[in-house]
């Protein structure tokens, strides 16, 4: 058999396999809308705010709920302790504080 036929057959088979996997994923997602709803019901009842991924530290277990002092959690400028802390950085939400310095020369109105 010609090399070109073998080569094109292999490439085409791979491409068809890949496309069918992508299509099956799409169809599977469409068929299982109820599954998403079941998960949302669970989230609603338990008021879940985070994925139960890494449970080693509270700032990686509850990414959205943790405060900012992550590493060693007890003093500022401390070193990162948990491995996942370098993969899941702190995401400060809901903080509105500002740091402001004013010059001593500035005349207050």
């Amino acid at each position: 058999m010609k090399r070109s036929v073998v080569c094109l057959t292999i490439l085409l088979t791979g491409a068809v396999l890949l496309v069918s996997l992508l299509l099956s994923a799409h169809l599977h997602d469409q068929r299982h809308l109820a599954g998403w709803q079941d998960k949302r019901d669970l989230v609603s009842v338990l008021a879940i705010t985070d994925l139960s991924l890494s449970s080693e530290a509270r700032y990686t277990r509850h990414v959205t709920q943790a405060d900012l002092f992550s590493a060693f959690q007890d003093f500022p400028a401390s070193f990162e302790h948990f491995p996942t802390g370098s993969m899941i950085p702190p995401r400060p939400a809901g903080y509105s504080g500002r740091v402001l310095f004013e010059s001593s020369q500035q005349v207050r109105p």
Binding site: K2, S4, A47, L51
Partner: protein, 385 residues
């Protein structure tokens, strides 16, 4: 010209002459694409899971901060917040952590109040008495209990507390419930010795989604020591956390991309003497520069497409069939309770197109540029080296 069968035969023969080198090249190229593809598939699946399920999370969670850290919140704050127009129910939540020093597992203890309808993802039933509990599949797997068994924990004063397991969350909800132990709120309050006038945080129901940010600002204004976290911020957090351009997987992505660039650089700078001689002979036989470039383009495309398809199939197998065992340690760290994933098979075609662009196009360029240099030189010079 590219699809001409005879020319394709010629390109395949040319590749076959250096089969060891080209097979090794396809293997390395496919592994790089498999690594990049695994990162993209995993992060997209996790992101989809988070942003699809957490749309049912509370509209606002209000914490109290003191000294920059999370503190228990007075339940009276709930009355203040409930008085704002547009606010529905404000519910104090009681939850916290429990560390098992033997197997070094962290459990998340959550309190629920009142009666709840049966959930599809729960085998058994919700706790209906103070001495009952529901556990996540990860807890059940780590400690081995079954429905009807007793869960024994030591409370804050080291007293033995017993809870009958009335349900276990199904594995399909592992990403949400893996390390959970759900108790009745009063029982958990008693367990943590938390006073009735305090709670861990508050959840706020807002009737109109457009008013959520305004109400969050109001909460922060009227209760200055509070930290309101809106659902929008929560979804944005997960969206950016599992974004392939930033966050957790960037290190892996960059490493794989660097490996690919080294591979491409090697191709760009090192056209072999044999290849140069071949180009010289073709030119001497009357091939034009464009014909030589066409042949080289075909060779590069055959290698790239083979590696791309094989790489993506490997990535699919790695992430969706095997559960991404090579990437999971990055997320697991020292966690003892870590969910076994049944990831939803979702794929972002845009990301796959980007992956194709960042791997195939540079490789084609790196193959064509040295070939063009050789092809545009005098055939005699090229053949003599």
């Amino acid at each position: 010209m590219i699809l001409n069968v005879k020319l394709l035969e010629y390109s395949l023969s040319s590749l076959w002459r250096r089969k060891e080198k080209n097979i090794a090249l396809i293997i390395v190229y496919a592994l790089v694409i498999a690594t990049l593809g695994s990162v993209l598939l995993l992060t997209h699946a996790l992101k989809t899971e988070a942003v699809t399920t957490l749309t049912a999370a509370p509209e606002i969670v209000v914490q109290r901060t003191q000294g920059g850290r999370h503190e228990l919140i007075p339940v009276t704050y709930a009355e203040t917040i409930a008085g704002f127009p547009g606010v529905g129910k404000v519910t104090p939540r009681v939850w916290g952590y429990y560390y098992d020093s033997l197997i070094k597992a962290n459990l998340t203890l959550v309190g629920v109040e009142g009666y709840h309808e049966q959930l599809e993802l729960l085998e058994g039933r919700f706790p209906q008495a103070a001495d009952e509990c529901v556990i996540g599949a990860g807890v059940a797997e780590a400690f081995g209990p079954q429905i009807g068994d007793l869960l024994v924990l030591e409370d804050s004063s080291k007293r033995r507390s017993e809870f009958r397991v009335t349900g276990i969350f199904r594995a399909a909800s592992n990403l949400l419930t893996n390390d959970l132990v759900v108790l009745q709120e009063a029982a958990l309050r008693d367990f943590f010795a938390m006073p009735a006038e305090l709670a861990t945080d508050l959840t706020v129901q807002v009737y109109n989604p457009r008013e959520v940010s305004t109400i969050a600002k109001k909460i922060a204004y009227f209760l200055p020591d509070s930290r309101p976290i809106t659902r929008e911020e929560l979804l944005h957090t997960y969206d950016s956390l599992f974004n392939w351009r930033s966050g957790m997987m960037l290190a892996v992505f960059i490493s794989a991309l660097m490996a690919f660039l080294i591979l491409a650089w090697d191709r760009a700078t090192g056209i072999s003497a044999e290849e140069k001689r071949e180009i010289g002979i073709l030119k001497a036989l009357g091939w034009e520069t464009s014909h030589v470039l066409g042949a080289k383009l075909r060779e590069a495309l055959l290698i790239s497409l083979t590696a791309f398809i094989v790489g993506l199939l490997l990535a699919w197998l790695h992430v969706f069939v095997l559960g991404a065992p090579l990437l999971m340690p990055l997320l697991k760290g020292w966690s003892v309770l870590f969910p076994t994933f049944d990831l939803t098979r979702v794929v972002d075609l845009y990301q796959l197109a980007v992956l194709g662009c960042v791997t195939i196009i540079p490789y084609l360029a790196c193959t064509l540029i040295p070939a063009w240099k050789a092809a545009s030189s005098d055939p005699d010079d090229v053949m003599r080296g």
